[in-house]
């Protein structure tokens, strides 16, 4: 039962609060990705589970056991490091067997487990080599192998893919997901890459400045971000934000900004109505806006840059003084400085409190 529970974890380094009141329950066999910009405290969360850092306050339970005062070796966890941290003086076999040897596992059993893991990871032919004789991708596999053979309660992975080239990263991403599902080991995975988070996680924890912003499954996170930070962090290209003023035009609540006029659908009226005369942030995903003129709302934009991606094209635009990136079909023939009217899908409007960034509910 590899359940991991964080209870109000706070970690301070001197005067700096790296992690603030972090509470989370990770279910057995769950794949959790903690994502956030660099320096947000996500690695600290991982290291506290490993026992490499001690929390300033709060409790951590692994598999039902309170581990606050337990050293890393007594926590039954395995960790994959960003730079792999393979022991340079040991060959691949010894690297993988090291943890088992320390625990006094009989030689025959170690041999069986190492060879089994090597087979899963397809590194059987490298067992006699030293880490420096391996490519980055192979080292990555050995690091995974070292974690697997231990059969721990929890895998901890600290940006394990960030040292790989783009192609290998995509490939390994899928392999880790498959491996985790096959082994059924609870996994806590830390990354700054929202694509990794979206593609791998059962649930994503978005964290900023040591504070949890939102915990949800990938699709919910994308469709219903809790605040402007999450909305802007998840998704490529990111969500576009426009600062607008709320106006009541003959009973119809409308968002207004230079070159932008969006009458809100009726389901928004109740929340936004009282804000009449105030500023509000309108969030639009790149695919929620399309070229054309419609009734739902009008934006008048000028094209800055056209970025063809093959399957789609990104347009960098200016709407009034505000910048935006939208995703359009590649067939459209567009040129910079062209004036382009836009229409939007009213069902895909996101609204945020201008001051706090909190998402407003319909």
């Amino acid at each position: 039962m590899g359940k991991v529970v964080f209870e109000n974890i706070t970690k301070q380094f001197g005067a700096v609060t790296a992690v603030n009141d972090f509470s989370l329950e990770i279910a057995d066999k769950e794949f959790i990705v903690v994502v956030g910009p660099s320096g947000c405290g996500k690695s600290t969360v991982l290291r506290m589970v490993a026992g490499l850092e001690t929390q300033t306050s709060g409790n951590i339970h692994i598999a039902g056991v309170l581990v606050n005062d337990k050293p890393p070796r007594d926590r039954n966890i395995a960790m994959v490091f960003q730079n792999y941290a393979l022991y340079p003086h040991m060959n691949v076999y010894e690297n993988m067997a090291f943890g088992l040897t320390l625990r006094g596992v009989p030689k025959g059993e170690i041999d069986r487990k190492v060879k089994e893991a090597a087979e899963i990871l397809d590194i059987g032919q490298y067992l006699g080599r030293k880490p420096k004789e391996l490519s980055g991708g192979q080292r990555q596999r050995v690091a995974l192998g070292r974690a697997i053979v231990r059969e721990p309660e929890v895998f901890l992975m600290d940006e394990p893919l960030s040292n790989l080239d783009a192609k290998l990263r995509v490939q390994t991403r899928a392999e880790i997901v498959k491996l985790q599902a096959r082994l059924g080991v609870t996994t806590l995975y830390v990354t700054h890459d929202q694509t990794e988070a979206m593609t791998m996680a059962d649930r994503i924890v978005v964290i900023k400045d040591g504070i949890i912003q939102q915990i949800d499954d990938p699709q919910t996170l994308y469709d219903k971000p809790a605040n402007r930070f999450v909305a802007g962090f998840i998704g490529t290209p990111p969500m576009n934000f426009f600062t607008c003023r709320v106006e009541n035009r003959d009973g119809e609540i409308t968002l207004v900004a230079p070159d932008l006029m969006v009458p809100l659908p009726t389901d928004w009226q109740r929340t936004v109505g009282p804000l009449s005369g105030q500023e509000i942030t309108l969030g639009l995903r790149p695919e929620a806006v399309q070229p054309g003129e419609g009734e739902a709302g009008q934006l008048r934009s000028v094209i800055d840059v056209v970025e063809p991606m093959g399957a789609e094209t990104y347009l960098n635009l200016r709407v009034g003084g505000q910048r935006a990136v939208i995703r359009v079909a590649p067939e459209l023939k567009l040129t910079p400085d062209q004036v382009l009217p836009l229409t939007l899908d009213p069902g895909r409007i996101h609204l945020f409190d201008a001051a706090s960034g909190r998402a407003l509910a319909r």
Partner: protein, 271 residues
């Protein structure tokens, strides 16, 4: 055959010019050690002569130089080994747990002129009846050897990636196991550098031995001093003895120079 470039020739000429003042005394010592007393004092110096091993025979057979060689070896190896045993864990602690105060204290012991320790030591070791024991000699040489080892190794440990130790802890190592099974095996070059320098210091040390050793533990540098007697200076024997002292140092340095240079510059350019 291709002619070497003029710049190459100039480079080697210049190099020779720089090295000559350092090399000349060594060559002089080596040559003198295989000359007879008559050839030694000849003016102008004799450059072509029939070499003799008589000086070496006298040094080893009549003066029991073998014993002094053994003393020097015991003291140098002993002080280096014990400095390593104490210094390596100390250096690791300073590096990983930011024990700067301890580090400064150790350095301070080294920065004090060695001579200022001699009188207190002599009194101390006399009262303990330890003058002219290997223990006293080894302990005194550790005063220099250990700070040397600590400070070279602090630099070395600082350069080792911490993730390795963290990986070892997660894998199940205690702190001691991490140090013994992961940190030490990766510290070979640093340990070689530090040990070589510590060994050479002890090997060459004259002052401590002059006060703290007598017949039983007399090391080479003191033994050579005794060739200078009231009656005469036996230059041939002095030079032969000097070769015996210098040779191991040179051989050791040549063997480990790659590590020593790397070790000495390690703090300067962190790679």
């Amino acid at each position: 055959m291709k002619m070497p470039k003029l710049s190459t020739i100039l480079f080697y000429l210049f190099a020779l010019l720089v090295i000559l003042p350092f090399l000349f005394p060594l060559v002089w010592i080596a040559l003198t050690s295989i000359k007879t007393q008559v050839q030694i004092v000849a003016v102008p110096p004799v450059w072509i002569f029939e070499p003799t091993l008589e000086n070496y025979r006298r040094v080893f057979v009549e003066q029991e130089f073998g014993r002094f060689l053994l003393n020097s070896t015991i003291i140098a190896v002993g002080s280096t080994v014990f400095s390593l045993i104490l210094g390596l864990p100390a250096a690791y602690t300073i590096s990983r747990y930011r024990q700067q105060a301890l580090g400064v204290l150790i350095l301070l012991a080294r920065l004090m002129p060695g001579i200022s320790y001699l009188i207190p030591w002599f009194i101390l070791f006399s009262k303990l009846q330890m003058v002219d024991t290997y223990t006293a000699m080894i302990a005194s040489h550790m005063l220099v050897g250990m700070p040397l080892i600590v400070w070279i190794m602090v630099n070395y440990f600082d350069g080792l990636p911490r993730e390795l130790e963290e990986a070892a802890q997660v894998d199940g190592c205690t702190l001691q196991q991490t140090f013994l099974k992961v940190v030490l095996p990766l510290s070979g070059p640093g340990i070689i550098t530090a040990s070589t320098l510590s060994f050479l210091f002890s090997w060459n040390n004259f002052m401590f031995a002059l006060v703290l050793s007598a017949d039983r533990t007399k090391p080479l540098p003191i033994a050579i001093y005794s060739f200078v007697s009231y009656a005469e200076v036996s230059w041939g024997s002095v030079m032969a003895a000097a070769v015996v002292i210098i040779a191991p140092a040179i051989i050791l340095t040549m063997f480990f120079q790659r590590y020593v240079i790397k070790g000495l510059t390690m703090g300067a350019v962190k790679g």
